[in-house]
Symmetry: C2
Subunit: 305 residues, 2 copies
């Protein structure tokens, strides 16, 4: 019997927990809203306790969390949610609470780095060493692989808060980001769409001008990510990207924004394979969390061996 791993994908609005094997198969899955931290984390712990009673002990667990989080293993607050604006969640020792309750190796990273890892292992980015996973939903966030490793840097990327050109004469919308107003997230995340068009974006028809403008803003962000990280592929997930009509628009506008400067055949000749949907669909995040668990298991094993 192969080892089982747990994954927790903690988003700002909901948490997905799953148990799976080492090959990207999920055998059990649950989800619940993100409420106060004690209650939310306890629900995750209870789920894994029940799973263990039924299927035997898990080998390890991974957590992909909304942020900002501390992902530096050398830091005294490693595994904490830190300065998030989400009420009640500041300075919560997420990793420690899970580890103490379940007494297992626990991997920890941002939700988007987890999703990037899941896509690299089993999804749309297999065999790539350099790619970006960008989620466009309640917020906009990005995770990246560089030279085959997750990008962390000093803290971790906050790609959604990139500052992009915004022609206020053509579009006077001020943006919804409490920090930057019209950064990429402030112009193009779900709440920005809802504020601008005064209706749930899910109810906007596929040919509504909202999508053309949305694609324009997203493409400016993608062009900047291409200029900075030179990814081999960009995987776009999140609730807003479920509007499939966005993909051809985003691809076309990105080529326009680059305007021939980056002469890569991957972009100029095969953009459909360059800007793509997650291969793991809406399980990218939780499978990525399981992948973090697999890594934690390995490093625990090698450290103890």
């Amino acid at each position: 019997m192969s080892a089982l791993f747990g994954g927790i994908e903690a988003g700002g609005t909901k948490v997905v927990c799953a148990v799976g094997d080492g090959s990207g198969n999920i055998q059990s899955r649950t989800q619940f809203p993100t409420t106060q931290p004690e209650e939310t984390i306890q629900r995750a712990i209870d789920y894994f306790h029940r799973e263990q009673e039924q299927h035997g002990e898990l080998a390890a667990i991974g957590i992909g969390s909304f942020g900002p989080v501390d992902v530096d293993p050398q830091s005294p607050t490693f595994g904490y949610v830190t300065t998030t604006p989400k009420p009640g969640w500041q300075d919560v020792p997420f990793l420690g609470l899970v580890q103490d309750a379940l007494d297992l190796p626990v991997g920890f990273d941002t939700d988007v780095n987890a999703a990037a890892l899941g896509e690299a292992r089993w999804g749309a980015a297999q065999k790539l060493t350099d790619f970006i996973y960008l989620t466009v939903g309640t917020g906009i966030g990005g995770g990246a692989l560089v030279n085959g490793d997750l990008l962390h840097g000093m803290i971790h990327p906050e790609m959604g808060h990139m500052l992009i050109p915004h022609d206020k004469a053509a579009d006077p919308f001020e943006g919804t980001c409490p920090y930057h107003g019209d950064c990429l997230e402030g112009l193009a995340a779900g709440p920005a769409l809802e504020a601008r068009w005064a209706q749930d974006p899910k109810t906007l028809p596929g040919d509504h001008p909202a999508w053309e403008l949305e694609a324009r803003y997203l493409s400016l962000g993608l062009a900047n990510l291409i200029m900075t990280l030179s990814p081999q592929r960009i995987v776009m997930g999140g609730g807003v990207m479920k509007q499939k009509q966005l993909f051809p628009l985003v691809r076309a506008r990105t080529i326009e924004a680059l305007n021939g400067y980056v002469e890569a055949p991957q972009i100029l000749e095969d953009i459909e394979a360059y800007i793509v949907l997650p291969g793991l669909g809406s399980n990218a995040g939780v499978l990525g969390a399981i992948a973090l668990g697999i890594r934690a298991h390995r490093s625990d094993f090698s450290a103890g061996d």
Copy 2:
């Protein structure tokens, strides 16, 4: 006697060649204008031939070149200058010409990655694993270390061509980039300053409003780089950054652009140590090329051993 290495820093306007040891000391240095490729590369080769006659054989050479270049060792055109707009330099096998003439291991990367490597080894980024070297001169370019390795990605970064907010009501200047008009380079490289103010930027007084505007544009670029790569430090070199009055302005505007979102003490409490001059001054590029030579020597040695 310790081994000697050669370095070629090939910029769009001038080439610097030097010979140094493995510890960041330069023992000989020359520079000449970048003219046609045959003539330019031959001058570099002649210099190293003369140096070898005088001081004995070099162990290896490194080239840090303007681009775009092909830096993928697996590619059939590895070491070529590829689609550069610089007349005569398209599809020039830079690495191959130097290797054939000197019969030595030759390392090859972008000029800015070379400078980043030099700063990491002997300059302002020692012991850092994640940082950015940004040059602001005839163009704007960036090199980066991520998890201790040079960032290449699919091709290599082109950070200068990032698209940033540009308030055309306040500043109607169209920008000088032939591809993007008002990208970062189009607004803030040396030629943009010269075009906007109709005089050599070196002759603009230190309190001229040009520098405040310049700092604003540069800080938007830096904020985006921080959001994307989360560097532990940013080293800024190049001719424009010789205007030292820019540093306090750029630091202050970068903090404003981030507006408290990235709560890093390195930025909020110690910005003077976060956005810094190159530790190697104007030798960052050629010392970085020497560092590429040292790496080429090592990998040649381990491959042959």
